[in-house]
C-alpha cells in the first residue's frame, strides 16, 4: 500500500485527508491487508459467493399508496434548505 494509492482512495471516497492522515492510514492499511492475505490460502473454486444469508429474491409489495414522509419532514434538519429543496454548491468542471 503506497501513499499515492491511499490518496487515490481518499479522492474516490470524497475524503479530504491531511498528509499526516494519509501517511498514518497507509501504514495501518498495509498491516490490515497483510493480514487478510491469509484468505488466499483457501481454495474457493466452485464456491458461490454469499452476498446475503437468505435466498431472498424480488421482495415486492402491492403498488398501493401508503402514508409516508413528506419533503418538509426530510429537509427540516438539513444544512441548507430553500422551498423544501436541499441547496448545494455547484458541481464544477474538472473538480
Amino acid at each position: 500500500m503506497t501513499q499515492e494509492e491511499v490518496q487515490k482512495l481518499a479522492d474516490l471516497a470524497r475524503l479530504t485527508l491531511t498528509p499526516e492522515e494519509i501517511a498514518r492510514y497507509t501504514g495501518q492499511l498495509d498491516v490490515i491487508f497483510h493480514h487478510v492475505e491469509q484468505l488466499n490460502s483457501l481454495n474457493v473454486t466452485d464456491v458461490l459467493p454469499t452476498s446475503h444469508v437468505w435466498p431472498l429474491k424480488n421482495v415486492i409489495r402491492e403498488d398501493r399508496e401508503i402514508p409516508g414522509l413528506v419533503p418538509g419532514q426530510l429537509s427540516t434538519f438539513a444544512p441548507e434548505v430553500e422551498h423544501d429543496q436541499f441547496v448545494v454548491p455547484k458541481i464544477m468542471e474538472g473538480d
Partner: protein, 489 residues
C-alpha cells in the same frame, strides 16, 4: 429510591398497582442523574418525553387498558443509531450533529405500541465501528465494573446503562459482535437475532447484510420479553423474514433439575485456541461443566474456517459501509463544511466530520470494491463467507446449540488497543462468524476474573432457532447467580 429489579418483577408490581410507571421512571432517572456522570452511558436523556409516556401508561393502567407486553410502563434506552421521531440521532458522529430523526424506527414504534417508556439514547462507537466505545465523537463510556476499562462496543453505552441499572432494557445493534461483546464486558445479557428477525427500518446502516438490532437486559427472561416486542416481519424492511416468532417467555420456566436433558451442546474447538485468556477459559470451562450437570450432552465439534472470519468480515463490512456512508456529504443531514463546489464540500465535510476508524474503514471498503481488486478481495471474502456458513450448517446436524466464550479477553483498559486497529479488531474474533452466517447469538454472564471483571458465555443457535438459544441460556442462568450481581456505583 427504587432499586433496579428485573422487568419480570417490576412488571408484576406495576400491574398490581404497587408502583406507578411515573415512580419507576423517576427512580431510574434519579439513579442515572446520580451515577452516569462517571460512566457516560447516555448521550441524551429525554426526561419530559419519558415522564409524559410514563404518565400515559399510568392513565391506561387506571382505566384497565393495558398492552400485554411486560415492557409496558418500564424504561427502555435506545442506541444512538436508531431513529426516534423528534430526537437528535448522531450515531456517535460529528457528521450527524443537529440531525433530528423525522420518523420512528420500526422497533421504536413497536416499543411505543407496547407501552415501553423511552428515556434516551446511549453512546456508541461512531457508526457502530468499534469494539470499545472509544470511537465515539462524544467521549467514551466507562465500564461500570471498573471505570478504567472499556465497556466494549459498539453498543457500549447500551450495555453499561443496563449494568448500572439506568434502564430496564436497552437496544443495541450487532454487526460483528456489537451487542454480544459489550454485554459480556458489562456482565449483562445481550442478544443478536437470526438475520432478518428484527426489522432494520430506522436503524442507520453500517453493513446491511450483517446489521441486526437486539435487546440487552439484566436477565435472559427480560431479554426475551424485549425481543418478543421487536421481532417479526416488517414491510418497510425487505430483508426482514416473513416467519412468525413464537412467544419465547412462555417457554422459560422451571423444568426440574435437568432442563438440558436431550440438548446436544457443541463445543467448537477453534474458539478455545491459544489466544484465549486463561481466566476466560477457566470461567467458560466451568460453565460447560455446569451445562453437563444440567443434563446437556457436550459434543466436540470443529468449525474449520473460524480463523478466516476476521479477514472476511474486515473486507465485507467496510465494503458495505463505504457504500452506506456515501450519503453523508453535507447535503441532506447534519453537518456541512461550506465550500465553492460540491466535491470540495463533500470532501471537507466527510474529512472533518468522520473519525479515524470510520475513515479507515471507508478507505478499506473503497479499495476492495474498486476495479482490479474486487475479485481478489471482496468476491473472495464473499466466497469464504459461504465456507464459514457451511461449517455451521454441517455442525448443526449433530448439535442443537454451540457454546463459546464471547470475547478472547476480559474488558481491556482505555487506550490499550486504540492505537493498533488490527488488535482492536481481534476483540470480535469469536462473535464475527455468527454474524457472517446470520445466526442467532446470545451473550450472558458466566462469571468473573480474579480482578472482578465480567466474563460472558455465548450461545449460538441454528438459523431461526431462537427458542433453543434462549432455553439453553435460561437453564444455565437459573442454575447460577451471576445475573444477580451488580457493579457498585
Amino acid at each position: 429510591m427504587i432499586e433496579p429489579r428485573t422487568i419480570q418483577e417490576l412488571s408484576g408490581l406495576l400491574r398490581a398497582r404497587q408502583v406507578s410507571s411515573v415512580e419507576l421512571t423517576k427512580g431510574y432517572l434519579e439513579r442515572l442523574d446520580r451515577s452516569d456522570g462517571a460512566i457516560r452511558s447516555f448521550v441524551a436523556v429525554h426526561r419530559e418525553d419519558a415522564l409524559a409516556a410514563a404518565a400515559e401508561c399510568d392513565r391506561l393502567l387506571g382505566i384497565g387498558e393495558v398492552p400485554s407486553s411486560p415492557l409496558f410502563g418500564l424504561p427502555v434506552a435506545i442506541k444512538d443509531n436508531m431513529c426516534v421521531k423528534g430526537w437528535e440521532v448522531t450515531c456517535g458522529s460529528k457528521i450527524l450533529k443537529g440531525y433530528v430523526a423525522p420518523y420512528d424506527a420500526t422497533v421504536v414504534a413497536r416499543l411505543r405500541a407496547a407501552g415501553a417508556v423511552l428515556i434516551g439514547l446511549c453512546n456508541m462507537d461512531e457508526f457502530a465501528m468499534g469494539s470499545s466505545t472509544e470511537n465515539s465523537a462524544y467521549g467514551p463510556t466507562r465500564n461500570p465494573w471498573d471505570l478504567g476499562r472499556v465497556p466494549g462496543g459498539s453498543s457500549g453505552g447500551s450495555a453499561a446503562a443496563v449494568a448500572a441499572g439506568f434502564c430496564g432494557v436497552s437496544l443495541g445493534s450487532d454487526t460483528g459482535g456489537s451487542i454480544r461483546q459489550p454485554a459480556a464486558f458489562c456482565g449483562v445479557v445481550g442478544f443478536k437475532p437470526t438475520y432478518g428477525r428484527v426489522s432494520r427500518y430506522g436503524l442507520i446502516a453500517f453493513a446491511s447484510s450483517l446489521d441486526q438490532i437486539g435487546p440487552l437486559a439484566s436477565t435472559v427472561w427480560d431479554c426475551a420479553a424485549a425481543y418478543e416486542v421487536m421481532a417479526g416481519h416488517d414491510l418497510q424492511d425487505t430483508t426482514s423474514l416473513p416467519h412468525p416468532q413464537e412467544l419465547l417467555t412462555l417457554g422459560l420456566r422451571e423444568v426440574g433439575s435437568h432442563p438440558l436433558k436431550g440438548v446436544r451442546v457443541g463445543i467448537p474447538r477453534e474458539y478455545y485456541g491459544e489466544g484465549l485468556d486463561s481466566e476466560v477459559r477457566t470461567v467458560i470451562e466451568t460453565a460447560i461443566r455446569q451445562l453437563t450437570d444440567l443434563g446437556g450432552e457436550v459434543v466436540d465439534v470443529s468449525l474449520p474456517h473460524t480463523m478466516h472470519g476476521l479477514s472476511t468480515y474486515y473486507l465485507i463490512a467496510p465494503a458495505e459501509a463505504s457504500s452506506n456512508l456515501a450519503r453523508y456529504d453535507g447535503v441532506e443531514y447534519g453537518a456541512r463544511v461550506q465550500a465553492s463546489s460540491y466535491h470540495l464540500m463533500a470532501g471537507a465535510t466527510r474529512g472533518g466530520g468522520f473519525g479515524s476508524e470510520v475513515k479507515r474503514r471507508i478507505l478499506i471498503g473503497t479499495y476492495v470494491l474498486s476495479s482490479g481488486y474486487y475479485d481478489a478481495y471482496y468476491e473472495r471474502a464473499m466466497k469464504v463467507r459461504t465456507l464459514i456458513k457451511q461449517d455451521f450448517d454441517r455442525v448443526f446436524d449433530r448439535v442443537d446449540v454451540l457454546v463459546t466464550p464471547v470475547a478472547p479477553t476480559p474488558p481491556f483498559r482505555f487506550g490499550e488497543r486504540a492505537q493498533n486497529p488490527l488488535q482492536m479488531y481481534m476483540s470480535d474474533l469469536l462473535t464475527i462468524p455468527t454474524s457472517l452466517a446470520g445466526l442467532p447469538g446470545l451473550a450472558l454472564p458466566a462469571g468473573f476474573t480474579s480482578e472482578g471483571l465480567p466474563v460472558g458465555l455465548q450461545v449460538i443457535g441454528s438459523s431461526m432457532q431462537e427458542t433453543a438459544v434462549f432455553q439453553t441460556a435460561y437453564a444455565y442462568e437459573q442454575a447460577t447467580t451471576w445475573h444477580t450481581q451488580r457493579p457498585k456505583l
